[in-house]
């Protein structure tokens, strides 16, 4: 479920082209839009078929896309090379903007943080328990509603943050939402649903393959992603580390 959530908001995170630190803050704050959506809309569909959840997600994406268009207009927004402000470094023979390294560093930090939360804190354990057996958890007295809200918020924050961080390195387009959804899905599929390790590996794989595609055949960048999704789903539906049923 959290996956669907992240998908929605990755698209939403993009319209905040500001300066570097405020960027992160804005990303975090926007994440709190999440609970509004969750309480207001998504909670109605939990009991239903998963496909309805997916549909609702898409409905929200559509609405957000237009909201974005409304507020910021339709032409792509960029940050005008702000990412170069930190200068560049020479790493293993290639010039890399320091900004990119910062983003990579941030991602690792966040990944470790989330991993820690899931494994070692009480909250984390509750999340894992409810993912596994919802009714049991309720029977044990865990307030499901609150858990959902918190998870959704977390997912949203991650989404908006990710979106915000990505922008300086590229441009922001209102249709980004879908592409990012497919990428996020590809990451989850490759890594396997329900596995943190897998998500990390999946992200790496997707990122690397995407870069390779861009440098060799720029036209088929997205094509590669779709093909990867298809190939992975065909060969190993559980992904590399996942254990879920398909």
């Amino acid at each position: 479920m959290g996956i669907t959530v992240v998908k929605v908001l990755v698209g939403g995170g993009m319209p905040t082209p500001l300066f570097i630190l405020p960027l992160i803050v804005a990303g975090l704050l926007l994440g709190f839009i999440g609970p509004i959506f969750e309480r207001g809309l998504i909670k109605f569909v939990y009991g239903r078929d998963e496909t309805f959840q997916l549909l609702l997600t898409f409905a929200i994406v559509m609405m957000i896309e237009d909201i974005i268009k409304f507020i910021w207009g339709t032409s792509p927004q960029t940050t005008g090379g702000i990412d170069m402000v930190y200068g560049q470094l020479n790493v293993l023979g290639a010039t890399v903007p320091v900004y990119n390294l910062i983003v990579i560093g941030c991602s690792f930090a966040i990944a470790i943080l989330i991993g820690y939360i899931l494994l070692n804190t009480r909250f984390g354990r509750i999340i894992r328990a409810t993912a596994d057996k919802r009714e049991m958890s309720e029977a044990l007295g865990i307030n499901m509603t609150w858990v959902y809200v918190k998870v959704f918020t977390l997912g949203t924050i991650l989404g908006t943050l990710g979106g915000a961080l990505v922008i300086p390195a590229g441009a922001a387009v209102s249709e980004m939402g879908v592409e990012l959804i497919v990428l996020a899905f590809a990451v989850v599929v490759i890594g396997g649903l329900g596995s943190m390790k897998g998500a990390l590996v999946g992200a790496l794989v997707v990122g690397i393959l995407k870069s390779i595609a861009i440098s060799t055949f720029p036209e088929i960048e997205m094509l590669t992603i779709y093909i990867i999704v298809i190939v992975v789903l065909v060969i190993k539906p559980q992904g590399l580390f996942g254990g879920g049923r398909v």
Binding site: L56, E65, P237, V246
Partner: protein
């Protein structure tokens, strides 16, 4: 949600309603403007597609988010045959579309039907977008984002090139498309009421139990996938001459989303639901697009509303009102 169709009096009533509606639709161009007739024409094409789509969604329980792909296949086949190969016989175009789409659906289906729900939806979306990228990038073949022109076809061998465009579309072509829609709907009705249809519904309601009763879930889903793909291709091929130009946007995920929307809006549990959804959508979209450029927001809102409050769509609402009236 079930209405006993077997009850004869109800059945006769329904047949009368059907006949009246059909006559109305047939005669529509005679008493409305060309624009409305044109919209209805596009509705017929979408109706065929969406009826096929609902075989997969409403009756077999599989949500495909890439169904526009098959519509695009049909449309591009029409474009190819008319402008590149100068084949203008509509019947040939239809048959070729069906063959191409069926082969494609057979291949894609083999991969997709192993998966369920979200995975199936995303896989079909991926395939749809794959085709989009293909259409876009291979512009030598497909005309890229400008697309390809569709020339006016011969209907049943008759050449209509002398007739002005709108008159052709709202006259002979309108009739032609309507007849095909009627035939295909009859066929679909037969399919649904057949033993095959029963097996599909069983798979939708409880795939495990169906499997234990000897119904191969994967195989039947595959059949449904191919049939619905063929229907979509026919719809696309019929739509092509009406819009005159085909472009990759036909298989973009939002177009697939439109098909889903139409089906949901009208009601996927009812045979005529998708049709109701189709008509409402087409006319609604036309109205709203002329009012604001933020139509996506409104449609997103409508979709959200349907999913939350009225999952049975318009048909569902009508049917529950009727039930309440009875009690």
């Amino acid at each position: 949600m079930r209405i006993p169709w077997e009850a004869t009096s109800l059945k006769n009533f329904r047949i009368v309603v059907l006949v009246v509606v059909s006559l109305f639709l047939l005669g529509l161009p005679l008493f409305t403007g060309q624009f409305i007739s044109y919209l209805m024409l596009t509705f017929f094409a979408y109706a065929i597609t969406v009826v096929g789509f609902n075989l997969l969604f409403g009756y077999t329980g599989l949500l495909s988010f890439g169904h526009a792909l098959f519509m695009a296949v049909g449309a591009y086949t029409a474009a190819f045959l008319t402008s590149r190969f100068s084949v203008l016989y509509m019947e040939v175009i239809l048959i070729v579309s069906v063959i191409v789409a069926s082969i494609l659906a057979a291949l894609i289906g083999t991969i997709c039907v192993r998966y369920i729900k979200i995975y199936f939806a995303m896989l079909t979306l991926a395939f749809g977008m794959l085709f989009y990228t293909f259409l876009l990038k291979f512009y030598y073949l497909t005309g890229g984002d400008e697309g390809m022109r569709v020339l006016r076809p011969y209907l049943l061998g008759f050449n209509f090139s002398e007739v002005p465009k709108m008159q052709f579309l709202t006259g002979s072509y309108y009739l032609y498309t309507f007849v095909i829609l009627a035939i295909l709907m009859f066929v679909m009705w037969k399919i649904i009421s057949s033993p095959f249809g029963l097996c599909l519904k069983a798979i939708r309601d409880n795939p495990e139990k169906a499997e234990y009763l000897g119904v191969s879930v994967r195989k039947y889903r595959w059949y449904a996938f191919v049939i619905s793909g063929a229907y979509a291709a026919i719809g696309g091929a019929l739509l092509a001459p009406a819009i005159g130009q085909v472009d990759p946007g036909l298989t973009y995920w939002t177009h697939s989303g439109t098909l889903v929307f139409m089906t949901l809006l009208g009601g996927f549990e009812n045979f005529f639901g998708p049709l109701i959804g189709g008509i409402v959508y087409i006319f609604l979209q036309d109205k709203i697009m002329s009012l604001t450029q933020y139509w996506r927001f409104i449609f997103g809102g409508i979709l959200a509303f349907i999913v939350i409050a009225a999952p049975g769509g318009i048909a569902g609402v009508i049917s529950s009102l009727a039930k309440r009236r009875k009690s």
